[in-house]
């Protein structure tokens, strides 16, 4: 499977069975939020971003209200300036995924191609599932699927293709996701409540930055002057807000950095 843009397909099967008002409310929020975001981005005032984030926030809230009880899949791809071998190797170390998958807390190798995933769930409750690597074709493809008895199902597939003229390697990721039924489904779904393609794309951007630049760009933790309360609150609904506090290099690598 290969496509140049991100795609997100929702299983249409039961969307018709939701109450009309629910569906209308949801799309109303998404549409209004989107328009607000667009307007905010083109506004002159400093409230511009605030509005944009607020708009985005409303749109996300709209998306979040989606009762993710049916399976869906999401896809994204990215070009990385590295060899296929390097991309494949880095992706084969499942334990390192949290470095670029910000919603994943840890991946533990259980042996025999089995891995335990723990993700940051709503209100800091961890969500966990076990996955089995199903197909592995050196430098080409990795596929994994969730084992039975997991809280949720997250099946993944990543493919590596060489681009011409030393441009590097294209990485294509597809994720299939199925939450469990019942209240747990709702709470777990909010973990993926943001646009799933956006989340995958964010992860891929970070993977690319790690490979190409050796680090993920950030401004978290830099100084600034007084912020208004409104801005601070709106930062909270920023779709890119890190789900967990990043360990600060300044704290971790005290001995390694040089200070005049």
């Amino acid at each position: 499977m290969r496509s140049n843009s991100d795609s997100y397909s929702h299983n249409r099967r039961d969307s018709a069975s939701y109450p009309k008002s629910f569906v209308a409310g949801r799309w109303g929020a998404i549409v209004a939020g989107g328009a607000l975001a667009a307007f905010g981005l083109s506004r002159r005032s400093g409230g511009g971003l605030a509005l944009a984030i607020a708009g985005g926030g409303i749109a996300l809230a709209g998306a979040k209200a989606r009762p993710y009880l049916e399976p869906f899949s999401a896809h994204s791809s990215i070009l990385v300036n590295c060899s296929r071998e390097e991309a494949f190797q880095r992706w084969s170390k499942f334990e390192d995924f949290p470095r670029f998958m910000h919603h994943v807390e840890s991946v533990t190798n259980l042996g025999d191609g089995r891995y335990r995933w723990v993700a940051v769930g709503p209100a800091d409750t961890p969500v966990q599932w076990d996955a089995q690597v199903e197909t592995i074709r050196e430098n080409e493809l990795i596929e994994w699927h969730t084992l039975p008895n997991s809280q949720i199902t997250v099946n993944g597939r990543v493919e590596f293709t060489k681009e011409p003229d030393e441009r590097g390697t294209s990485i294509h990721v597809s994720i299939e996701f199925a939450p469990p039924a019942g209240p747990l489904g709702y709470s777990v779904a909010s973990l993926f409540g943001k646009d799933p393609s956006f989340l995958i794309r964010q992860d891929l951007r970070r993977f690319k930055a790690l490979l190409e630049a050796g680090e993920v760009p950030t401004t978290e933790g830099q100084p600034h002057g007084p912020r208004s309360a409104a801005i601070a609150a709106l930062r909270f609904v920023n779709p890119d807000r890190p789900p967990r506090k990043e360990p600060r290099l300044s704290e971790n690598l005290e001995s390694q950095r040089g200070i005049a």
Partner: protein, 398 residues
Amino acid sequence: MKAVCWLGIEKMSVETVPDPEIINPRDAIVRITSTAICGSDLHLYNGYVPTMEQGDIMGHEFMGEVVEVGPGVNKEKLKIGDRVVVPFTIACGNCFFCKHQLWSCCDNSNPNYWIAEKMMGYSPSGLFGYTHMMGGYAGGQAQFARVPFADVGPLKIPSGIPDDKVLFLSDIFPTGYFGALNCDIKPGDTVAIWGCGPVGQFAIRSAFMLGAERVIAIDRFRYRLQQAEQGGAETINYEEVDSVLGTLKEMTSNIGPDSCMDAVGMEAHGKGLTYLLDKAKQAVKVETDRPLVLRECIQACRKGGTVSVPGVYAGFDDMIPLGAFMNKGLTLKTGQTHMMRFMGDLFQRIQNDEIDPSFVISHRVPIDRAPEMYKIFRDKQDRCTKVVLDPWTNGHAA
């Protein structure tokens, strides 16, 4: 530390904020010795570029001394104690765009790339102190700055050469040069340059360096036009002629300048109905820019010529004469400057005494006076061309 913070439209304030720290392995911390206010900062001051937030630290033209380096910085390229000029574009050094020397298009330096993608399709590089859409990095109108990917951008400067001579390698000298390079100058060429601000001034001098026969500079402030003349340009005061277009025709035997440069950008001043219309649209946010000069450049350029746009535009513009552009077969070249392509060469030219960039400096003041200087620079009062701030001396009004 002290830092110039944006608190809202036309509201700058010097605040005491925490010192920056190393956040990523390839970061360095620079103790700033000189920093400047740029024409680009005026677009933020006036509130025309979206995604500023109250409390953002301003500034992207700075230099100083490296006082701290992260463990990921290549020690052969940069170490503590080095004196450096920091370019305003932030680049990783290893993505497709960096490999192609398209430094201001780096793929890995803008953490907020997704905001920029909404506006532009794809995101350019991160910039210091220049909106959240462009990364939200704290800027350099401060006593210290955190410099990401510190082994890629900063240019080392030996001691003995004063800050004033090299500070503008951080932006406007390379920007003027890039603007001139984008004019694709051939021997015998005439280049017309709109805007005699610091960018225009460096563009004039660079155009001659690159072999232009004539440069015609356009502005309305006498003192800036005089400075253009000192650089060898002929000048047009657009307030004293009926039409710039007509005057340029006369001056070029009706063929038109071989290339036209817009060194003014999104806040062009003008007269007549279209100017008022642009101003009104910009005020109610149906148009982000006032592209008067860009329109004029396209109209004025000779057939088959080149339009170069170092002036900054932010969003969406109306009434661009695409008919003229297409039918005359023009070429348009633009971009945030790919800084690292030019800094080394231009530093050599400074060392060879081919040019002394300090000629643009009109004001040197302690950082505490930055807020009032924004206004003076914006309103071109007191023959203001370029303001350099000293982060370390105290002082309000002299």
